[in-house]
């Protein structure tokens, strides 16, 4: 993942004395009988880029709209910078939002769009002009101030929308799928730009997205949402390497899940037996789980080694199978290997050498061995 942040990492969530900038306490939002957000509690700290990640309809946008003031919580409390936000209309909140559709006013030029928020505060004209020019320079749109939104490309519109929401120097910026409408190349480029701007201005970002790559690139922390609930909060690497549930493991990246039971449960290691694997899985860290509970072993495809020869030890953490499918993706190849139990396992392998006839690579219907390091599997209990 990208790391444009300075080395002195800001991790206020690890400091028990740190005061959260946004406190979301047991917030519920119902639309009729439908529960969009279900008793969510969350603390977000100053200077973070916090990503709410989830499939569409999981309640992430509703949560964002409650922060902006477009929806009132049915129950619970939201406070920003120590102030309770109940009953405060959007136009009085110290918050600005960048909309998924950008919501640029079609009848106003770029300059008028950006100046709109400042005019609402009745700032002097000279100051408005100055600040608009400065923010347009920051997003590299200086030459476009006289254009109307329909005269701009998608990427330019996105930058104007960003400028408009930043020009009031909000302490908190809400971004609803900020890169959703851009094509892939532009998106990557803009991701870095967003992070740079965020650092330069020291604004707290709360980003809603359904795109895990976007969340991984931008976020200091990610909150994964499902059916109105926050299922896991953590840094991108926490979420990817230590998912706490099958849902998170499966939703973020791809994963092989094996159902099984703990056969050895020690504080510093566990052993899991699964009907789908002939040999047990040895995990070199402890698991907190009630005895006899069903557990799942989550194994990322890139952490499995595929080879023709059997590994040194056949005692555990390996399996034998036949290659069923190969998908060549350029940078990596995906192998689907069928084990003796009938279970298919997904394995990715970087293509470190150029493919050619001379290169003898593993191919269809070959007998192969899969193996992995004892630190790789993650045991989840739900």
């Amino acid at each position: 993942m990208v790391n444009v942040r300075p080395e002195t990492k800001l991790e206020p969530w690890k400091d028990p004395a740190a005061e959260p900038y946004i406190r979301i306490e047991r917030v519920t939002k119902k639309f009729g009988d439908f529960v969009a957000v279900d008793e969510v509690s969350l603390n977000i700290y100053r200077g973070e880029i916090f990503c709410l990640l989830g499939a569409s309809g999981c309640g992430k946008t509703t949560l964002l709209r409650m922060l902006a003031g477009f929806e009132e919580p049915t129950a619970g409390r939201i406070s920003i910078d120590g102030a309770d936000m109940a009953g405060i209309p959007p136009y009085q909140r110290p918050v600005n939002m960048m909309f998924q559709s950008y919501a640029l006013f079609p009848h106003m030029s770029v300059e008028q769009n950006v100046a709109f928020g400042l005019k609402q505060d009745r700032l002097p004209k000279a100051e408005i002009r100055e600040r608009v020019a400065a923010i347009l320079e920051l997003v590299r749109m200086t030459g476009f101030s006289g254009r109307k939104p329909h005269q701009l490309s998608g990427g330019q519109r996105q930058r104007v929308a960003l400028a408009r929401s930043l020009v009031k120097q909000p302490k908190l910026l809400l971004l609803d799928e900020p890169l959703g409408a851009l094509d892939k190349k532009l998106r990557e480029h803009t991701q870095f730009e967003l992070v740079n701007i965020q650092e330069k201005l020291g604004v707290t970002f709360v980003v809603v997205t359904h795109d895990q790559e976007e969340a991984m690139t931008l976020a200091s922390r990610i909150g994964v949402m499902d059916h109105g609930k926050i299922v896991q909060v953590g840094t991108p690497s926490d979420i990817y390497e230590y998912p706490t549930s099958r849902f998170v493991a499966d939703f973020v990246g791809s994963v092989n899940l094996f159902q099984g039971a703990l056969v050895e449960d020690e504080p510093d290691y566990v052993r899991v037996a699964s009907a789908e694997l002939e040999r047990p899985v040895y995990v070199n860290h402890g698991v907190s789980s009630p005895p006899d509970a069903t557990v799942w072993v989550a194994l990322r495809p890139e952490k499995i080694v595929i080879a023709r020869e059997p590994p040194a030890s056949l005692e555990d953490n390996c399996a034998e199978g036949v290659v069923q499918e190969i998908a060549y993706l350029g940078d990596v190849s995906v192998y689907l290997v069928k084990l003796k139990s009938g279970r298919t396992v997904r394995v990715t392998r970087p293509n470190m050498r150029r493919q050619s006839a001379a290169f003898d690579r593993i191919t269809w219907d070959e007998q192969v061995w899969l193996s992995w390091d004892p630190s790789s599997p993650v045991v989840v209990t739900q």
Binding site: Q92, Q120, R122, L123, P124, P170
Partner: protein
């Protein structure tokens, strides 16, 4: 607002507009009025909802209650020509006198039943002919090149914006005994004596079809223009001939447009007064005309009111329920 406290400190002196606003705000009566409004809990929201609401209740809902009331009153000579419902007897006792005779009269006299059925029949027939003429037009416009399309659409719109009354009037000159059609046919030697067309049901049909044709073409066009033409390519690719593709693909997909257009023609045609009055004969009975004559010629307000209520219950009610259900279905599909 509170995001920029630094700059709020040196706010610009109020410009002209702000000054004016401040002056208005300081103005005594304004302050008094807005203060009272606030006391009563009147907000911008209540004003936005309340103003049109009040208007509609006063000038749309209340009138129907009055019509209902008069439809059960007795006729009398004088102005207004109906008896009050409530009678004060010996200071205190109020007697309510309801006369359902007007309704009974509607059912007894076949004139009203015939007029009612005839209106529905004529409106339905005219709607059918509108569809017959309008569909090829809408289809043709939707399938021509965009520059022609705008011109043709304008040509459909033009009669739509021109006086309805004058367009009906034009048909008098065409249909009468020495009118355009008869003169042409006699000059060509096709006929020797003029065909009587004016003051017949035929003239009424012509008038309705002609007047409401744009109402049929426009929604049909909107529907056909939206259609995905790759569907027809797919049908052709799968071996379907154009005529069959039209019947099995285009026609079913245009049903919403057909329904919308037919409603727009049928609904106003049923209650039509001008067309039967100008083009129809004395026996071209349509319910709108019957109500008109009951009111203006017989000056029988109670019976006219009863006719109105009967029309409302038997005609407008079903149409509104139909529309409401359609709206709900459309909503459910979304």
């Amino acid at each position: 607002m509170s995001t920029v406290p630094r700059s709020q400190a040196r706010r610009q002196p109020p410009v002209f507009l702000a000054e004016l606003m401040a002056w208005i705000r300081a103005f005594g009566p304004y302050r008094w009025a807005s203060g009272r409004l606030k006391d009563w809990g009147v907000t911008g929201r209540t004003l936005v909802i309340g103003t049109p609401y009040l208007w509609l209740v006063l000038f749309f809902l209340v009138p129907f209650i009055i019509v209902l009331k008069i439809s059960v009153s007795d006729i009398r000579l004088g102005m207004p020509p109906y008896e009050p419902l409530l009678h004060w007897v010996e200071h205190q006792v109020v007697t309510l006198k309801i006369n359902l005779g007007n309704y009974a009269f509607l059912f007894e006299d076949p004139l009203y039943r015939n007029a009612y059925l005839n209106s529905i029949w004529m409106a339905a027939t005219s709607t059918f002919f509108c569809l017959l003429i309008g569909y090829p037009m809408a289809y043709g416009i939707a399938r021509t090149s965009p520059s022609w399309r705008n011109l043709l659409l304008m040509m459909v719109m033009l009669p739509f914006w021109t006086s309805f009354l004058l367009r009906v009037y034009a048909w008098i000159g065409i249909l009468k005994n020495n009118g355009l059609i008869n003169n042409t046919l006699m000059a060509l030697g096709v006929i020797d004596d003029p065909i009587v067309m004016l003051q017949t049901d035929f003239a009424v049909y012509m008038g309705i079809v002609y007047s409401y044709l744009p109402f049929m073409v426009l929604p049909l066009y909107a529907n056909l223009e939206k259609m995905d033409l790759t569907l027809l390519e797919a049908a052709a690719d799968l071996g379907c001939r154009p005529m069959k593709a039209f019947v099995t693909i285009t026609l079913p997909l245009s049903i919403p447009g057909i329904v919308a257009g037919s409603m727009l023609v049928f609904i106003p045609a049923v209650g039509e007064f001008v067309i039967p009055a100008l083009l129809g004969g004395p026996d071209s009975l349509m319910i709108g005309r019957v109500l008109w004559e009951e009111f203006f010629h017989n000056r029988d307000w109670p019976v006219a009111s009863a006719v109105a209520i009967a029309m409302l219950v038997l005609l407008v009610g079903p149409i509104m329920i139909l529309q409401y259900n359609q709206g709900r279905q459309a909503g459910a599909h979304r």
